[in-house]
C-alpha cells in the first residue's frame, strides 16, 4: 500500500482524460451496493467493479477487481466481496466505494504512460499490455511533445508490433487510432505540468478505435 494524496482514483483520472479528448471507458463511483446496482442497470450489463481508493495502488492483487458481472445479484455480491477483501488486505486504507464501468469487449492490450525525466521532462512510453510490458520490457519512449511521426515510430519500434497487425485470427489494432491517442496524451501532459506520472493500462485496441480501460494519474 502506498500512502498518497497524489494518486487520483480511476474515476477522477478518467474524468480528466475524457475532458482532454482521450477515449476512456467511463467509470462511475458507487458508494453503496444499491448505487452499484443502479449504475449497472443504467450503463448496461456486463459490468466491471473495481475498488476506489487512493490508498490502493495494486487493485487486483488485493481482490479489488471483479469482471464480467451480468446481473444485479452478481453486482451486489461483488460489491461486498471487494470491500471486505480490500479492508482485509489494507486495514488502514480509506475506501471511497467501488467504480462501476461497462465490460469492454476484448481487444489487443497496450499501455501508454508518462513519467518525468530530470533532464528532459515528460517522457511517453508505449508497449503491449500485460506480461510483455512487465517481463520483456518491450516498450518504446519519446519525449514530449510527441508528434504524429514520433507516435507512429514508437508504435512500430516495439518487438511485439506484429501482434498489433493481427495475429492468428486476432483482429488488427488501428494504428492511426493509437497514434492519435498517443499524440493526445502528449498534449494533455504538456498542458498539465502538475501531472507527475500517468498510466493508461490497459488500453484495448480495436480495428477502428482504441479505448483506455484503466487509468491512473499521479500528481506532483
Amino acid at each position: 500500500m502506498v500512502k498518497s494524496q497524489n494518486l487520483l482514483t480511476e474515476v477522477e483520472s478518467k474524468e480528466l482524460l475524457k475532458k482532454a479528448g482521450i477515449p476512456v471507458v467511463e467509470a462511475k463511483l458507487a458508494r453503496s451496493k444499491k448505487e452499484a446496482i443502479s449504475i449497472s442497470r443504467e450503463i448496461g450489463f456486463p459490468v466491471v467493479l473495481k475498488i476506489s481508493s487512493s490508498d490502493v495502488v495494486h487493485k487486483s492483487d488485493s481482490g479489488g477487481v471483479r469482471l464480467g458481472l451480468t446481473n444485479a445479484t452478481q453486482v451486489g455480491k461483488a460489491y461486498s466481496q471487494i470491500t471486505s477483501s480490500v479492508k482485509q488486505a489494507y486495514p488502514e486504507a480509506r475506501i471511497d466505494g467501488v467504480s462501476v464501468q461497462t465490460m469492454a469487449p476484448p481487444g489487443v492490450e497496450v499501455i501508454v504512460g508518462m513519467s518525468k525525466d530530470a533532464q528532459f521532462g515528460p517522457v511517453l512510453m508505449f508497449g503491449l499490455g500485460g506480461i510483455l510490458v512487465e517481463v520483456l520490457k518491450d516498450v518504446s519512449f519519446r519525449i514530449v511533445p510527441v508528434t504524429e511521426r514520433d507516435a507512429r515510430e514508437m508504435i512500430k519500434e516495439i518487438k511485439g508490433y506484429p501482434v498489433l497487425q493481427g495475429y492468428r485470427g486476432q483482429k488488427a489494432a488501428s494504428i492511426p487510432a493509437l497514434e492519435q491517442l498517443i499524440v493526445k496524451v502528449s498534449q494533455f501532459v504538456e498542458k498539465n505540468p502538475q501531472i507527475k506520472e500517468l498510466d493508461l493500462n490497459p488500453i484495448f485496441a480495436y480495428p477502428d478505435k482504441a479505448v483506455a480501460v484503466d487509468a491512473r494519474v499521479i500528481l506532483e
Binding site: 494518486l7 533532464q119 528532459f120 510490458v133 491512473r216 499521479i218
Partner: protein, 476 residues
C-alpha cells in the same frame, strides 16, 4: 538557421589574437605548452603569453598581467589555479575579451559546494562583462583551418567534420584517430563543465558553419535538456548529427508509482530523444569514428545493396561466407550477381576453387596473375546489382603471394576502379601479422578517399547508419 552564431563564435574559432595565462619562462607549465604549440602550429594571429615569472617564451615576451597587453585580445586560454578565476574574469572584462577558455579544473566536477559556488560566481561575472566561457575543466577549441592545434600540439588537416565533446579524453582520441584514419575536422571543441557555452550553443554554431558537413558529439549529460532537445531537432534537419551518449548504465531510476516510471531509464530516454531529433546514435568511440568516416566520404542516399569480395587469395572462401554474414546481420542487402557477370567470372577463373556468387571469392586468380585478378574485381564492381562494393584484403595472406610490389599494384588498381565506375568502394583490412604493410596500405587508400575498416561488421554497421539517416531524412 543559427546564422547569428557565426559572428558570435568568430572570436572563438577564428581569433585574431590569443592570450595564454599561466605561462612561465623557466618551468614547464600547461600555459607554456599552449604558447609553444600555437607557435609551432603556425597560428596566424597574435599570441600574448601572460605569467608572473617575466622573461620570454618562444620568442615572445611574457607579460605579468592580461591588462598590460598592448593590443586587443579576442580569446584567452587560462591555465592558472581556480583561485585566480574570478580575478581573471575581471581582467578579461577590462580588456574587452570576447571569450575565455578555462583549462583550469577543480570546479563542480569535484562535487563540492565550493566548486559549484565558484562556477556560479564566474558565470555571473562573465555575463556582466559580456565574456563567454568555454569550460571550465576542458581542452577547448580545435580549428585546423585557423591553425589552432589541440592539446599537446596535435594538428591534423582541415576538413568537413565538426565535433563537440564533454570529455577532453574523448575529444583528444577523436582528433588522433582522425589523423590516423583521415577523418578531417572543420572544428572541434571540448567544453567540459559547460557552465556558459554548452552542447546546444556549439551544435547551433556547427549547424550554421559552412565548413562543417557532419557533426559528431560525445555527451554525458545536460543542464538544460529541453534546450538540447529543441536544438538537436533543429540541427538534425540541417546536418547529419552522430551522437555517442556516455554513461548509459548510470543508476538513475528513483522509486516510481507507475509502470512507466519503473520502466524508464536514462539510456532509453536519450535514445528516444536522439531518434526524435533524427540523430544517429552510436555506442562507442569506434562506432563514432567509423560513422564519421563514412559520412565524410560517402553521399547520403547511398543505398545498401552491396557486392562483397571476401577473398582475393587463399582462405578466401570462409572469409567470404563470414563477410556475408557480418554484412547481412548489420543490415546490408547482398543481391546475387547478374548471370552475365557470373558467366564471365566462370570463364575467367574456372568453376573450381572460387565462389562466384555474392559474396565473391576470387582466390583462383592467384594462379593466373594480377591482370586476371584485376579483371575479376572489375567484373564484380561493374555489375549494376550493387550500389557499393566491399573488398576484404587479408594482407598477411596476400603479402607472400603477391609481395609488397603486388600489393601496391592491387591497391592502386582498387583506387583507380572506384573512380572509373563512380561507385563507392570500401576496403576491409583485418589486423594480423603484417601490421606495417597493412598500415601502409590503409594510409594509401585513405589518402585516396577510400574508407578503410578493420572488420566487415564495422564497415557494414557504418554504411547502415548512413542509410538509416538517409531514410529518416526522406521520410520527414
Amino acid at each position: 538557421m543559427f546564422e547569428e552564431k557565426l559572428k558570435e563564435f568568430e572570436p572563438i574559432f577564428y581569433p585574431k589574437s590569443i592570450a595564454v595565462v599561466g605561462v612561465s619562462a623557466t618551468s614547464i607549465k600547461a600555459g607554456s605548452l599552449w604558447v609553444s604549440d600555437l607557435r609551432s602550429a603556425g597560428f596566424p594571429g597574435l599570441i600574448y603569453p601572460v605569467g608572473s615569472s617575466g622573461g620570454r617564451i618562444a620568442d615572445l615576451e611574457i607579460l605579468p598581467n592580461l591588462r598590460l597587453i598592448p593590443g586587443e585580445v579576442d580569446y584567452v586560454i587560462v591555465a592558472v589555479p581556480r583561485q585566480s578565476a574570478l580575478e581573471l574574469l575581471d581582467d578579461c572584462t577590462a580588456k574587452n575579451v570576447k571569450a575565455v577558455h578555462f583549462f583550469t579544473a577543480g570546479f563542480s566536477e569535484t562535487k563540492t559546494q565550493q566548486g559549484r559556488k565558484l562556477e556560479e560566481q564566474m558565470l555571473e561575472k562573465a555575463r556582466q562583462g559580456n565574456v563567454r566561457i568555454i569550460g571550465p575543466n576542458c581542452i577547448g577549441v580545435y580549428c585546423p583551418e585557423h591553425k589552432i592545434p589541440f592539446v599537446m600540439g596535435i594538428l591534423g588537416e582541415s576538413g568537413s567534420v565538426g565535433f563537440i565533446s564533454q570529455s577532453g579524453g574523448v575529444a583528444t582520441k577523436l582528433v588522433t584517430i582522425g589523423i590516423a584514419r583521415h577523418i578531417k575536422y572543420s572544428k572541434g571543441v571540448s567544453f567540459g563543465n559547460g557552465i556558459d557555452l554548452d552542447a546546444s550553443d556549439f551544435l547551433q554554431y556547427l549547424a550554421a558553419d559552412p565548413k562543417t558537413r557532419v557533426i559528431g558529439a560525445y555527451l554525458e549529460g545536460t543542464r538544460d535538456g529541453a534546450r538540447l532537445f529543441t536544438t538537436m531537432k533543429q540541427v538534425g534537419k540541417i546536418k547529419p548529427l552522430v551522437v555517442w551518449k556516455g554513461g548509459r548504465t548510470e543508476v538513475g531510476a528513483q522509486a516510481a508509482m507507475s509502470h512507466t516510471g519503473s520502466l524508464t531509464s536514462p539510456a532509453s530516454i536519450w535514445s528516444a530523444m536522439l531518434k526524435q531529433a533524427g540523430a544517429v546514435e552510436v555506442h562507442s568511440l569506434e562506432e563514432l569514428t567509423d560513422t564519421l568516416l563514412i559520412f565524410q566520404q560517402l553521399e547520403h542516399g547511398q543505398g545498401t545493396h552491396a557486392a562483397i569480395i571476401g577473398g582475393l587469395a587463399d582462405g578466401g572462401g570462409g572469409n567470404s561466407v563470414a563477410a556475408g554474414d557480418a554484412c547481412m546481420e548489420n543490415g546490408l542487402k547482398i543481391p546475387p550477381l547478374s548471370l552475365e557477370t557470373k558467366q564471365e567470372l566462370t570463364d575467367l577463373l574456372g568453376e573450381v576453387g572460387s565462389i562466384l556468387r555474392n559474396p565473391v571469392d576470387v582466390s583462383q586468380a592467384q594462379f593466373r596473375g594480377l591482370p586476371t585478378l584485376f579483371q575479376a574485381i572489375d567484373l564484380v564492381v561493374r555489375d549494376s546489382i550493387s550500389d557499393i562494393v566491399l573488398i576484404q584484403e587479408d594482407i598477411e595472406i596476400l603479402l607472400p603471394i603477391y609481395s609488397r610490389q603486388g600489393l601496391e599494384e592491387i591497391n592502386e588498381f582498387v583506387i583507380e576502379l572506384g573512380r572509373r565506375h563512380n561507385k563507392p568502394i570500401i576496403v576491409v583490412l583485418p589486423p594480423g601479422s603484417a601490421e606495417p604493410e597493412r598500415f601502409q596500405i590503409e594510409q594509401k587508400l585513405l589518402a585516396a578517399s577510400i574508407p578503410v575498416f578493420c572488420s566487415m561488421e564495422r564497415a557494414a554497421g557504418a554504411i547502415c547508419k548512413l542509410n538509416h539517416y538517409s531514410c529518416w531524412q526522406e521520410a520527414k
